[in-house]
Symmetry: C2
Subunit: 406 residues, 2 copies
């Protein structure tokens, strides 16, 4: 790792840490006002941002990027509007910072309050979609965290223009401008330097694919909140309501196959298989879904109209299969038997376990979180959908009247 | 890293993962009964354990280990009794697993419960004190986690004997024996293999010095819950009650200087310095405490009757000093001014912030947690004293009646 990139990242970190100290002092009202200024500043810069994005898109096409990638990179009018609207929605959400989680008095005479706190400085590394820039900046700012953002090479002009507008909004609101910083340098070692910046960065959040996440974990000295893939399962138990099972499978596979909470593997109780598999095949044929019924790669996340199908002897075998091959994201059982459902809910080791409901519900909005920064497949700190609360830590405020420990 | 050690650690991991699956099925009553069997088995093995420990101690002395280290290694009768008593106390504590953190119904028709869950498999790496073995095994078992323990080389005979007794207790209780495993091999790469065992280990907890923690973080692919040092401060504000300030400083420095929550640095408001510093010097002389009033190494954790002393212009300078040089563990202010106290509480970025109370209160017992596995200086997942609750994660249980996402 070059000394220059390390020193550059350190300078961003130092500025972010200083901004984080200022952010603690902003009231909720002032933070919300600043978010609205950011939304306004983005709207004012709409043309400049669109021009920068058009250049990125043109370069991406010249370089032969896959059409799906070019699509993700493109900031359409509609996406721009929805990004700005998203920031206004975040301004309207309750502020978790300062919330008292619990308080108690102790026999020693001290009183303890456990209160929600910002982390301080968060590093977010994301890939092609430039709207993630503004979205992430708003979520971290709302929770009084400073953020250092690093986007994909192909979106560097868009992100630079977005960063300028967001910082202009902060400036106008008289909020610390370095609360949002963009890693403009395209050095590959920038991510490595970020996740090793123990002194100034408290946590790193990758918003991208498995490869990016693995590379970050390998290099990291700071904690990384991981959002791995979603190899989600639906287990159709022998006591399932079959039309319900088909409706749930349909929703979980077809509604948005590219989502991480889409189902990738169907497991069927062996007693039910002779009856249900033909129904499933007929459904798949009708919907253009490819079923893999042999030579399955059980860990695969298709993100497309394809899915694995397996037959299991009972709920225990289904649970063992899911815990072994799944990604601990979201797994569902369809059954009318409450006892079997309870067994499945207890023993499946996933962030979200559904009973007679689609896996697609794993989502910050559906959970009532108002916003979502991702879906954690980690078990530490945040598991499942991460909203504003999951962007905070806590501290203990202890008070006495000269209290000393006996 | 040798393939053998990797494969050995993997085999422990696989067995631990299987045990973790069984642990989920044990009721609280069965877990508590097993804890009492473990306590009994340890008492039954008292002589064998004492003999193993005596061998370790003899070897340590032969190898010229420092007396403090030999002391930590020695499992006296009193320490043995307190270890066994500790396990019985853990059996009597409430079980956090299964607790419903919140539940809500959503307009989509689904119901969501957020419930406390075990992590699964925890790796704990500890240093010389063998009683940590039994203590940790009991805490992790109580929270339905399987544990893989790795102790210091100098305590290998003691730990082997303790592991045998604990596992005998599990066997008698008909609980999964591999819920508690000991890394008997003394290969240096064992720790490295443990913290890279992504497939089978969910989290690693070091219970040892800074060097061990740094080495684990550098190698880790799994999350590490860090318990770094405690460079704790007391800031005596110009509006402090001086006898109260002295009493708190005395308690925080003298009661147990080797504890991580002992104070290491005294900061005094400049207006108060001419009056208070002579009082502090007189106190220090009387107690044999060495005050460092020049050439201070501000980050130093003395763990002895020594402390740094500094003069600051005001509360802001105190806060800046603490956030810069402290270890984000525990820091205190002594003042009668509620506004200044509030300012200090908000802006000091530490796990525990005390107002008119000793830093020594940062302790699981003092917080009412019943047990403590350490004091986290991390901000992710657990901050400050870690009790049973902090050895758990959560999952979401979602139920519907054929609910699909719109």
């Amino acid at each position: 790792m070059s000394a220059e990139i390390e020193s550059y990242i350190n300078s961003l970190g130092r500025a972010a840490r200083a901004a984080a100290g200022e952010l603690r002092k902003l009231s909720t009202a002032r933070k919300n006002a600043a978010l609205l200024e950011i939304a306004n500043a983005l709207e004012n810069a709409r043309e400049a941002i669109a021009a920068a994005n058009a250049q990125d898109v043109a370069t991406a096409k010249e370089n032969g990027l896959a059409p799906a990638m070019v699509d993700r990179l493109t900031l359409t009018q509609a996406r721009f509007d929805s990004m700005v609207q998203g920031i206004r929605a975040i301004a309207a959400l309750p502020d978790p910072v300062g919330e008292i989680i619990w308080k108690r008095s102790r026999p020693s005479g001290i009183a303890i309050e456990k209160v929600r706190e910002p982390f301080g400085v968060i590093a977010v590394v994301f890939e092609s979609r430039p709207n993630v820039f503004a979205d992430t900046a708003a979520l971290t700012f709302k929770t009084s965290n400073a953020v250092i953002l690093r986007g994909g090479k192909e979106a560097v002009r868009s992100n630079t223009a977005l960063a300028e507008a967001v910082r202009e909004g902060l400036r106008r609101a008289d909020a610390p401008v370095d609360a949002v910083q963009f890693v403009g340098v395209q050095d590959h070692d920038a991510v490595r330097a970020l996740v090793r910046c123990v002194e100034y960065v408290d946590v790193a959040i990758p918003r991208g694919g498995e490869r990016l996440i693995r590379a970050m974990c390998e290099a990291a000295l700071i904690p990384v909140l991981k959002h791995y893939k979603g190899t989600c399962h639906i287990y159709v138990d022998c006591k399932a309501n079959l039309p319900m099972a088909l409706a749930i499978i349909h929703n979980a596979k077809v509604q948005r196959p590219s989502a991480c909470n889409a189902v990738e593997c169907l497991l069927v109780h062996e007693k039910l298989a002779p009856l249900f598999l033909p129904m499933a095949r007929a459904w798949a044929e009708g919907e253009g879904v490819v079923l893999h019924e042999s030579d399955q790669d059980w860990t695969r996340e298709f993100l497309a109209l394809e899915m694995n199908v397996g037959v299991v002897a009972n709920v225990d075998e289904a649970i063992a299969h899911i815990n072994r091959y799944g990604s601990h994201h979201t797994d569902a059982i369809v059954t009318d038997d409450a006892e079997i459902a309870a067994h499945f809910r207890r023993d499946v080791d996933s962030a979200v376990v559904c009973h007679n409901a689609s896996t697609r519900f794993t989502d910050g909005g559906e959970f009532g979180f108002g916003a979502e920064i991702g879906i954690s497949t980690d078990k530490l700190h945040a598991r499942g959908p991460m909203g504003l609360e999951e962007l905070t830590t806590y501290k203990y405020l202890l008070s006495g009247d000269g209290s000393i420990r006996q």
